[in-house]
C-alpha cells in the first residue's frame, strides 16, 4: 500500500501549466512525477476524450494540443500517475493518492501545485434540481465527449465561457433557448480593447460571438435566473433583469450556469500556506511571490492556483514556477534564472491585462447576492439554506469556520469548494464587511472523499498497529 518512492519534484495536475513545469524540471535532470486524477494529461482545458472513443471524426483544436502535451511527457521520460486522486499532502513532502485499486504514498523534496480551478456558481432557487449543470462542466462534456447535455438548453451566468459553450452547443447541433448574462453589452464592449491584447483568444471570441449572432440566439443582458423548477414540458426558468426588475419565464430542458472560476486551494490550505483574498484573481488564493513561490518552502504554484490568468498564460506560469524551483535547488545560476524569468514576467504582464478584463466580465453584482431567496440551499452537500447561515451570523458567528461548525456548511464531500465563495459573499454583504475578515475554510484531509476499502485493502485484526487505550 505504501510505496514511498522518492522524487525531486512531484507535480500535481497535468494541465498545460503542470506539464510545462514538469518538462522544464525533467530537462534539467530532476526526477519528476506528474499526478492527475484524469486518465491523461490536458487538464480541464485540453481535456482528452476517453481512450475508447475511437470514432471521433472531427478532432477539436483542444484535442490536438492535448496530444502534444502527452508527447512532451513521453519525450522527457517523466513518470506519470494518471487516474490517481491526491487525498492528502503533508509537509516533508508526502503525497498520498488513491486509484481504482489501492492507495499509494510518494515523497518529494519539492511540490508544484497545478491543480487549476473549479467552477463558481452563485446559487438560485432550484439550482440543485436535475438538469442544472455547471457551465464549465458543460465544456467538459462538449470537449471530451463531443455531445450536448440536451437538445434544448439555456446558458446562464457570465464571462466568456457563456460564448464558448454556446459556440460548441450550436456546432454539435443543439438549440440554445437563451443566453442569460449578468453583465451588460456595455461591459463587453468596454473590455474589447483589453481582450485584444490576446489576439488568439480574441479571435476565438469573435468566432463564438459571430456564431451566436448568426443563429439569432436571444441574449438577456443584466439578467439572471431567479428560479427554476420542473414542469411537464421541462424546466421552467424565471429570468429577472437586475436593472429594470422585469421578469420573464422560458421553458427549456437543461440549464448550464457558471459565474467564472475559483482557484483550487485545497492543497495549499492543507499545507497551511498563507492565503489572501483577491476578487479579481478568483477569490481566496495562495499568497505567492512574483516567481510563484508560496509561503511554504518548497511549494510552488503553477497555473491558476494563485490567481486565474487563463489557458495561454498557464504554460508560462508553469515555466516560471519551475525556474524558481530550479534556482532554489541551486540547479541553475542566478544569471540563468534572471534571463529565463525576465521574458516570462513580461509576457505574463500582458496576459494580466487580458485576465483582468475576463474577471470584470465575471464580476458578481451585489444584486445577484441580495436576490438569493432565504430558502435557497447554499451548501448542497449538507442542505444548508441562506437563512440558516444568516441565523448563525445573528447568533454571533463571525468566522467562516465558526459558521461551518454551527450550520454544517462545507462539511460534506466537497468540503465547501462549491459554496465557500457564495457563503462569503452572502455573509460579507449581510454584515457589510470585507470578505477577508471572515477568513477561509481550514483545509482538511482528505481533499477528495477516500473509499475506505481502497485505503485499507484486506487486513488481519492481529496486524493492526494498536494505540494503547487511555488509563483505567
Amino acid at each position: 500500500m505504501i510505496n514511498n518512492k522518492k522524487y525531486d519534484v512531484i507535480v500535481i495536475g497535468a494541465g498545460p501549466s503542470g506539464v510545462s513545469s514538469a518538462v522544464n524540471c525533467a530537462k534539467k535532470g530532476l526526477k519528476v512525477l506528474i499526478v492527475d486524477l484524469n486518465s491523461n494529461s490536458g487538464g480541464q482545458i485540453y481535456r482528452a476524450p476517453p481512450k475508447t472513443y475511437k470514432s471521433i471524426s472531427k478532432k477539436l483544436e483542444e484535442n490536438e494540443i492535448q496530444k502534444k502535451l502527452s508527447e512532451e511527457i513521453k519525450k522527457f521520460k517523466i513518470e506519470t500517475a494518471y487516474n490517481h486522486t491526491v487525498w492528502q499532502v503533508s509537509p516533508g513532502f508526502k503525497v498520498n493518492a488513491f486509484n481504482e485499486t489501492s492507495t499509494i504514498q510518494w515523497q518529494s523534496k519539492s511540490l508544484i501545485i497545478a491543480t487549476g480551478t473549479y467552477e463558481k456558481i452563485i446559487p438560485f432557487e432550484g439550482w440543485t434540481i436535475p438538469g442544472v449543470i455547471g457551465l464549465a462542466a458543460c465544456t467538459v462534456i462538449l470537449k471530451a465527449h463531443h455531445f450536448i447535455p440536451s437538445k434544448k438548453i439555456i446558458l446562464a451566468g457570465n464571462g466568456p465561457l457563456l460564448m464558448l459553450v454556446a459556440y460548441y452547443v450550436i456546432k454539435f447541433g443543439g438549440k440554445i433557448d437563451a443566453i442569460i448574462d449578468t453583465s451588460s453589452k456595455k461591459d463587453w464592449i468596454k473590455s474589447t480593447f483589453s481582450l485584444m491584447t490576446n489576439p488568439k483568444n480574441f479571435r476565438d471570441g469573435i468566432k463564438w460571438v459571430f456564431k451566436i449572432f448568426l443563429n439569432r440566439i436571444p441574449v438577456y443582458s443584466n439578467s439572471t435566473i431567479e428560479k427554476a423548477f420542473e414542469v411537464d414540458e421541462g424546466i421552467n426558468v424565471k429570468i429577472r433583469n437586475l436593472k429594470t426588475g422585469k421578469a420573464k419565464n422560458i421553458i427549456s430542458e437543461t440549464i448550464a450556469i457558471g459565474h467564472g472560476l475559483i482557484p483550487s486551494t485545497d492543497i495549499t490550505r492543507l499545507l497551511r500556506a498563507e492565503h489572501i483574498y483577491d476578487e479579481q484573481k478568483g477569490g481566496w488564493i495562495a499568497k505567492v511571490d512574483r516567481f510563484l513561490r508560496s509561503s511554504v518552502n518548497g511549494v510552488y504554484l503553477a497555473g491558476d492556483g494563485a490567481g486565474i490568468s487563463g489557458a495561454l498564460a498557464a504554460s508560462d506560469k508553469g515555466l516560471l514556477a519551475s525556474w524558481a524551483l530550479l534556482y532554489d535547488e541551486k540547479i541553475i545560476s542566478q544569471k540563468d534564472f534572471n534571463q529565463n524569468t525576465y521574458k516570462i514576467l513580461k509576457k505574463l504582464d500582458k496576459y494580466e491585462v487580458f485576465a483582468k478584463a475576463i474577471s470584470q466580465l465575471n464580476f458578481t453584482p451585489k444584486k445577484l447576492i441580495e436576490n438569493i431567496d432565504n430558502n435557497t440551499v447554499i451548501c448542497r452537500c449538507e442542505d444548508v439554506t441562506k437563512s440558516e447561515i444568516l441565523t448563525a451570523v445573528d447568533r454571533g458567528a463571525r468566522d467562516i469556520n465558526q459558521i461551518k461548525s454551527w450550520t454544517r456548511l462545507g462539511m460534506g464531500p466537497c468540503q465547501g469548494r462549491t459554496c465557500q465563495y457564495a457563503v462569503s459573499k452572502i455573509v460579507a454583504e449581510y454584515l457589510n464587511c470585507e470578505i477577508d475578515n471572515l477568513g477561509y475554510l481550514t483545509g482538511r484531509s482528505p481533499i477528495r472523499p477516500v473509499p475506505l476499502d481502497k485505503v485499507l485493502g484486506d487486513f488481519d485484526y492481529e496486524k493492526i498497529t494498536k494505540v494503547e487505550a487511555a488509563p483505567l
Partner: protein, 365 residues
C-alpha cells in the same frame, strides 16, 4: 475600565458550563476567549457520551454529566442534537475478553451499570457488529452529542442569561491587587473582576503561569474521521476492549470514527496535522468492528487538542494563595462530564459545601 463579578478565561464546555450556572444564580459573568467560543476541544471533539472509556474514578461524574446531556432543553438549549444509544464494548480475542471483564468490573464498582453479554446477545442488540467477537460489555447509559453545535448552543444560552462574551481577547497579564483581578489583554484593554476562573483547556499550563503556578499539562493532538452519509449501518455506540476506538452513526448518516488516535499538533501556533498511518489504524479497527463500514468513503479528517495532567485526572477547584480564583480542566471524557463539573465548581463558588479534593491542583505543587 470594565468590571465584572466573575471573569472566566476560556470559553469551552468547562468555562461555559461554570459561567452559565453562576449567571443563573445572579452573578455578573464575563467569558473571555482568545479565539471564538467553543472552537477548542469542546467544538471539535467526538461527542461520545460513553462509560466504557471513562476513567473509573470519574464514572460518578460522567453519569451526572450524561444525565444533563439527556435533558439539554432544560438547562442549555433545544438546538443541540443529543441521542441516547446503547453502548457496546467489543472483545475480539480471549485476552481481550479477560481484559474487558476485568475493566468492566472495576467501572461497575465506581457505579457504572455495565454488564458482560454473550456474542449472541450483542448481535441481537446490534446485528451489524463483527460476528467474530468473543463477548461484549453492554451499557444503556451511552449516546452522543453533535459537538459542532456546542458553540451555537452555549452562546445562545449564555447570552440569554446575560453573560458577556468577549471573543478574540487574548490575555497577556493578570494582576492581583486588593482582592481584585485586573486582566490585561493583548489589545491593551483591561477588565476588573472580583473572581477569576481559568478554563483554558490545553492552554492551562500557560494561563496558570500568569499566576506564577507551574504545573505540567500535556497536549494530546487527536484525530477524528468522518464518513460520507450512508444508509444505516449501526445502531449503537461501539468501543473496543483493547486499544482506542469510538464509533457511531449520526442521524444524518455520517459515521464518526474516533477514540483518540494521535496526530501531530502543538499549542504554540495551534497547528495540527494528520498522521496518515494512524488514520489507517483507526479506520481498520473501525471496519473490523462494523464490517459494512468498509463500503463508505471518508469525507473529512480533523484534529483537536486535548489536555492531560501527569496523573490524567482533572484539576478543579481553588487556586492556592489567591482569593476567589479557581481552575477547571484536564478532564478525561471531559465533554461528557463538563456540564456537571462546571455546575459543581459554580456551586462551590456560590458557597455550597462541595468536595473537590480528588481534583485539587495542590497535588502537583
Amino acid at each position: 475600565m470594565k468590571q465584572t463579578d466573575v471573569a472566566i478565561i476560556g470559553g469551552g464546555i468547562n468555562g461555559g458550563s461554570t459561567g452559565l450556572e453562576l449567571a443563573k444564580n445572579g452573578l455578573n459573568v464575563s467569558i473571555i476567549d482568545k479565539n471564538l467560543i467553543c472552537r477548542g476541544a469542546s467544538g471539535v471533539n467526538a461527542g461520545t457520551l460513553t462509560m466504557h472509556m471513562t476513567r473509573a474514578q470519574l464514572i460518578p461524574y460522567a453519569k451526572k454529566g450524561w444525565e444533563l446531556w439527556m435533558n439539554t432543553s432544560e438547562w442549555l438549549s433545544k438546538e443541540i442534537d443529543v441521542e441516547k444509544k446503547n453502548g457496546l464494548c467489543l472483545a475480539f480475542t480471549e485476552n481481550e475478553e479477560k481484559l474487558l471483564i476485568e475493566r468492566s468490573k472495576i467501572r461497575n464498582e465506581y457505579g457504572a451499570d455495565i454488564s458482560i453479554i454473550s456474542k449472541k446477545e450483542a448481535q441481537r442488540i446490534d446485528p451489524n457488529i463483527n460476528s467474530s467477537i468473543k463477548c461484549a460489555a453492554f451499557c444503556e447509559m451511552d449516546g452522543y452529542v453533535s459537538a459542532n453545535q456546542t458553540g451555537s448552543a452555549y452562546s445562545k444560552a449564555l447570552k440569554e442569561n446575560n453573560v458577556k462574551i468577549l471573543e478574540n481577547y487574548d490575555v497577556s497579564e493578570i494582576d492581583y491587587d486588593k482582592n481584585k483581578y485586573v486582566i490585561i489583554f493583548k489589545n491593551g484593554e483591561k477588565l476588573i473582576a472580583s473572581s477569576l476562573i481559568l478554563a483554558t483547556g490545553v492552554n492551562l499550563e500557560k494561563t496558570l503561569k500568569l499566576l506564577q503556578i507551574n504545573i505540567k499539562i500535556k497536549c494530546l493532538p487527536q484525530q477524528l474521521i468522518v464518513s460520507e452519509r450512508m444508509p444505516t449501518i449501526m445502531d449503537t455506540v461501539i468501543t473496543v476492549a483493547n486499544g482506542k476506538l469510538s464509533l457511531k452513526q449520526f442521524n444524518n448518516g455520517t459515521v464518526l470514527i474516533g477514540g483518540g488516535w494521535p496526530g501531530v499538533g502543538n499549542i504554540e501556533d495551534n497547528y495540527t496535522e494528520t498522521k496518515p498511518e494512524n488514520l489507517i489504524g483507526n479506520m481498520m479497527l473501525a471496519c473490523h468492528a462494523i464490517p459494512r463500514l468498509k463500503s463508505s468513503r471518508v469525507a473529512r479528517v480533523w484534529l483537536g487538542l486535548e489536555a492531560e495532567t501527569d496523573d490524567a485526572m482533572p484539576i478543579i477547584g481553588e487556586i492556592p494563595n489567591y482569593e476567589n480564583a479557581y481552575v477547571i480542566g484536564s478532564i478525561h471524557s471531559g465533554y461528557t462530564s463538563g456540564p456537571y463539573m462546571g455546575k459543581l465548581l459554580a456551586k462551590k463558588i456560590l458557597g455550597k459545601n462541595i468536595d473537590l479534593s480528588l481534583f485539587d491542583i495542590k497535588r502537583f505543587l
